[in-house]
Amino acid sequence: MGGRSVGRALHALGLLLVLGFAVFPSYWMVTSSLKEQTDLLASPPVWFFRPTLANYLDIFADQRVTTAVLNSMIVSTATTVLAVLLGTPAAYALARFEFRGKKDLWFWFISNRMISPIRSIPPDLEQSARLEGANQFDIFWRIYLPLGAPGVAVSAIFAFIFSWNELLYALVLITSQGLKTAPVVATNFMSGYELPWGKIMATGTIIVLPVTVFALVVSRHMVRGLTMGATK
């Protein structure tokens, strides 16, 4: 009996540790973005302080940051729409049809993640629709797309997150200041002698917040989507 309650206590402690581990860096980023420079540079760092929104007011007044966030929005939305438009039919084909070279194509596609939800739709539906005279595109458009919507949503969110978080291509390919995306601008803060940590962390928070909220809302699906893409 005693062993069991020790086990339960360890279980709870372990879970709390994992929770702390998972959210701490983000917590630290957000609280740092609410600190004044003196609090930021305090050594050792302070955990309790008078929060201020000054850093956010600064970055929203800075056109580089607002433009960059807008650019990121445009790029990510366009990428997502394109990925769904191209990926859904391909996922349908991979899930439902048999053809030569299928295995080779399989690993090319991130739309992998959609295939399993599409698979779970009973093929009888397709057959009865065909009996009613529906063509292949109708079947895809009227049956698979609505029923596969959760899978499509998960994939769309993945596409958005990947695109939003992308730095390397943006860093190398975009030279015009007005077209830079949010991660690039955040990186550009990291030069000079005295780093404006408050502004850097506020920008980081602004960048991370939308995707995190997005991901949290669909986290149940996200777990499914992630692992399906990985283990299938």
Binding site: H11, L15, L16, V18, L19, F21, A22, V23, P25, W28, M29, S32, A42, S43, P44, P45, L85, L86, P89, A90, Y92, A93, L94, F97, E98, F99, L105, F107, W108, F109, S111, P123, D124, Q127, R130, Q136, F140, N165, L167, L168, V172, P183, A186, T187, M190, I200, M201, I207, V208, V211, T212, F214, A215, V223, R224, L226, T227, A230, T231, K232
Partner: protein, 324 residues
């Protein structure tokens, strides 16, 4: 297993469906759709991938056989002359390239086992009954590191591991460990970058293993729990087989990710101090866009591509056996 079942079902139904869709019935065993149907559904995606995937690769391949430094005027005037395998020989005899590749391998060997070990522990804790609310919150919290922009992970890492006002030193101080200038010394920087990677990717590994654990049929797990009190025996004999496909996936995805790992390291250390965190992708980016030697950088990229393909071929061979 499942696919062959649905297939035979398809075939059975096709026998009746085929009569209404004329033209599809010419070939025997034809499963109810036109021969070119898969093609039309796949074509847009394949064409897009060819344009954005194959074209740059071919361009890189062509560039890798030329002397192509965009800052050297002579190269431009000579029309970027063909130099055969010179760039490749240069890369393969470049000690820095091998060092960065070796460093990337060391990074993989340091980070991935920790992620797998922690990932299994976390998955087991999340799978174990009890504390429903806390478990749900913890599971959802794992999504936070995954969604965090890689470049921002680097920014936060620089703040946390700062010598003077970083919280890492403060926490180590609580444990009685002396503070150090993490990003200022080679070992410290390597560890700091590894810690941030472990933070970001352990949740991914944990979620994959959690999915594996939930695949164990409930009655089998219940029966095993009645048989033995040992968690270890349960893990070893009942749960482990269900974790193996996930393990393979983790090994594949993490090796590809680490070969491409750039954003976080670039922001956090720029490969330094010295070459302490000069992972191969950071080095290739520097050759290409700081030295502007596109010929050499392309040769490096092609070699890395070959390495990635070889690795994934190897994994896929193992992987497909797991699924079938």
């Amino acid at each position: 297993m499942t696919s062959s079942a649905t297939r035979s079902q398809d075939d059975r139904i096709t026998a009746t469906a085929g009569q209404t869709t004329a033209g599809n019935t010419k070939r025997r065993h034809h499963p109810g759709y036109g021969r070119w149907t898969p093609f039309w559904f796949l074509a847009p995606a394949v064409i897009a991938l060819l344009m954005i995937g194959i074209y740059p690769t071919l361009f890189a391949l062509a560039t890798s056989f030329r002397r192509y430094n965009i800052t050297r005027r002579a190269d431009l005037l000579d029309g970027y002359p063909f130099v055969g395998l010179n760039n490749y020989i240069g890369v393969l005899t470049d000690q820095t390239f091998w060092d960065s590749l070796l460093l990337t391998g060391r990074f993989y060997l340091m980070v991935v086992p920790i992620q797998i070990l922690l990932g299994i522990c976390i998955a087991l804790m999340l799978h174990r009954p009890g504390f429903g609310m806390l478990r749900a919150i913890t599971r959802v919290s794992l999504v936070v590191p995954l969604a965090t922009t890689y470049a921002v992970v680097g920014l936060v890492g620089r703040l946390i591991f700062n010598r003077d006002f970083g919280v890492a030193n403060q926490m180590l101080g609580w444990l009685g460990i002396a503070s150090s200038d993490w990003l200022g010394n080679p070992t410290g920087a390597f560890i700091a970058v590894a810690v941030m990677d472990i933070w970001q990717w352990t949740p991914f590994v944990a979620l994959i293993f959690l999915a594996g654990l939930s695949m164990v049929p409930v009655d089998i797990e219940e029966a095993a729990r009645l048989e033995t009190k040992s968690h270890w025996a349960l893990l070893r004999h009942v749960q482990l087989p269900y974790l193996l496909p996930g393990l393979t996936a983790v090994l594949i995805l993490r090796s590809a990710d680490i070969l491409k790992l750039f954003d976080m390291v670039f922001v956090m250390t720029r490969g330094g101090p010295g070459s302490a965190t000069d992972l191969v992708s950071v080095y290739v980016q520097r050759v290409g866009f700081k030295v502007f030697d596109l010929g050499v950088a392309s040769a490096q990229a092609i070699l890395l591509l070959i390495l990635t393909i070889l690795l994934s071929r190897l994994y896929i061979r193992v992987f497909y056996r797991e699924i079938d």
